[in-house]
Amino acid sequence: MSSILKTYNLSVGYYLNRGKAKILHRNIDLELFRGEITCLLGPNGSGKSTLIRTFSGFQPALTGELQIVGRPINQYKAIELAKVLGVVLTEHPVVGNMSVFSMVAFGRSPYTGFLGQLSKTDKLIIKKAMQNAGIQDLQNRQFHSLSDGEKQKVFIAKALAQETPLMFLDEPTAFLDFPSKVEILQLLRTSAWEQDKAVLLSTHDLNLALQFADKIWLMGQEKPIVTGIPEDLVLSGKFGSYFDHKNISFDKTIGTFTFDASTKQAIVVHGQNLKLDWLRKALHRKGYRVLNTKDKDSSVIEFSLDIEKENFELKSDQSSMAFQNIEDLMIFLDEMKFQKTK
């Protein structure tokens, strides 16, 4: 598989006043492949946007080379680059009196003539792009009247109509509600897989990225960029290491970030069930330290879950109690703790 974008010893950053360069990342050697969706992850200020801006040709690389389809990016004219890479930026422009159709039609701009008149083929491509993005019903709506998620889809449709092998999106899932986030990622994945595009997007939705990305690029301040498929990065612990931060840590077993807020006593839980997973989450949320086996500390509450039964059972050395749901159990635990401190 040959790459469509390749960097050689690239340095990205920006120029400060008086011509001094601030390098955010150096010695970058990365590749993007067609038919893959790549998620760029990293905390704020790690240089995700700078990398995407450099890839898009909005700002020059400080040193090194960036090749797109085997040709250095600075050898492209603006109009040539427009046919190779399409971008979707974080902020949507505020345009009054513009229909969704006209907005998507901008994607044909690199191909149309002097006055930008659309040919029949152009109109077909625009329709197709709107259909793929699932916004064909919105085509006569005014762009400014759309919701954030719909606007995002309009710009993705614009990028699709641009018919570029590369697509860069800067935080396309920011400010969206959860279903819209998933929809956008599904749309991007379909575009990458079915239209053989190389899609690169930055995002803060780590859990979604783990589920949708073919490749993940991890960025951090003062850290080299690490790449790989999601599962490998999780197992090697790299995924966690780029986001570990005081009380936050990545729990490999459950595949989510946990907030280390254990303030209360430890609880041992047994059983194997969906209910157990959620019980663990609930206990963790309430600040209990959840253990799998009993350790030397005898003051630990032992908790076992009977798979056969509907109820949750709380066992201690002396007695056992059953609860209808997690909420009741939590109330009981809180009261027990209250009495102890008294």
């Binding site: 680059l81 890479l85 345009v95 009054g96 701009s109 006055l115």
Partner: protein, 355 residues
């Protein structure tokens, strides 16, 4: 898959009808501009004179050919040029309140003119000779230089400060500073020069003689045609500079070209007619609201037609008191333009919106 291109062609249909309405109104006001005034000229006579058949009254013929016809054409072209300049500025700076008079471009042109009239003291015999002065090539060039200089400055600021309000305030400050320099020049200038300059500053479409009209028309039409040629990149710029670049627009080059065209249009009008307030700011909004689109392919012809129409209306109102050139054009355009600005602010809660 059904391709509903019908709705789009239907759109084009209603654009043509709307354009037709404005052309019709423009023609009516053009004729009224020539017919009405201190001397009323019957419409029939007017057509006779225009088509070179002469008139029963030679005085009428003289008034039409030497005074009212050039004035009406000047108003038409000046309004069109200011509208186009305002539209380009609003798109370029992504600011609904941008306009030649607001961002100090007219002031820049005024500075050029002031330096020529007051400082270099381009010889002027008296005010009656003013029309010769206005035709003076050096003054037009100085006006263009001043306008482009201010535009470049604003362009730099707009590139650096993304906040529209900041750029707007800076533009107004530049306008003040430039006006202050003009004030200083006025302080040190001769009485006669000063009078010439003040008269020029009030604004008038009557200062272009039949001879100069040819040059004026030529330059303005070139400028307007150039504007039309850049409707595609102007449309792309509606999405902001980055999107425009990603759509294949060489934004740096286009920016400079648009600034030069805007400078040319605004400065030539300012040099010949004085700094005309508000027209350039208000006309693009009237066009966008009338045609209900942000597409420059529609709005450029739109601002040309509406700008011409508005200027003709203003010119007619200015002459209502009964004798030629009675009221300064600026008084009329301000009275009509200021409410438009207030309307824009009331209507748009989002200051960045609707360019």
């Amino acid at each position: 898959m059904t391709i509903s291109t019908n709705d789009i062609s239907k759109d084009n249909g209603h654009y043509w009808i709307k354009m037709g309405i404005i052309v019709l109104l423009g023609a009516i006001f053009f004729i009224l501009n020539i017919a009405m005034g201190s001397v009323f000229i019957p419409v029939k006579e007017f057509f006779k004179i225009i088509f070179g058949m002469g008139s029963e009254n030679p005085a009428w013929s003289s008034i039409v050919i030497n005074s009212r016809f050039p004035q009406a054409v000047t108003a038409l072209l000046a309004g069109a040029a200011l509208g186009a300049g305002g539209l380009m500025m609003q798109t370029l700076f992504r600011n609904p309140l941008a306009g030649p008079s607001v961002l100090g471009v007219s002031s820049g042109a005024s500075l050029g003119v002031a330096i020529m009239i007051l400082f270099v003291s381009v010889p002027v015999g008296n005010i009656n000779m003013f029309s010769q002065l206005a035709g003076n090539f050096s003054i037009v060039l100085a006006a263009i230089a001043g306008a482009v200089l201010v535009l470049l400055l604003i362009g730099m600021l707009a590139g650096r400060f993304k906040n529209n309000t900041v750029v707007l305030v800076m533009g107004i400050m530049i306008a003040y500073a430039v006006s202050a320099i003009v004030g200083v020049l006025q302080f040190y200038s001769l009485k006669e020069d000063l009078q010439t300059f003040v008269m020029w500053g009030l604004g008038s479409f009557a200062n272009v003689s039949s001879n100069q009209l040819r040059h004026f028309t030529f330059v303005i039409i070139i400028g307007l045609l150039l504007t039309l040629m850049f409707s595609k990149p102007l449309n792309a710029l509606l999405l902001g500079e980055n999107y425009a670049q990603n759509l294949g627009v060489n934004t740096k080059k286009i920016r400079i070209i648009l600034i030069l065209i805007t400078g040319l249009l605004t400065a030539v009008v300012t040099a010949y007619c004085g700094p005309i307030a508000f027209l350039g700011l208000a006309v693009p909004h009237l066009s966008r609201n009338f045609f209900k689109t942000s597409n420059h392919l529609i709005n450029i012809p739109g601002v040309i037609l509406i700008g011409g129409l508005m200027a003709l209306i203003c010119n007619l109102i200015a002459r209502l008191p009964g004798y030629d050139g009675a009221l300064p054009i600026n008084a009329i355009t301000s009275i009509m333009g200021a409410p438009v600005v207030i309307w824009i602010i009331i209507k748009r809660t989002d200051f960045r919106a609707d360019v």
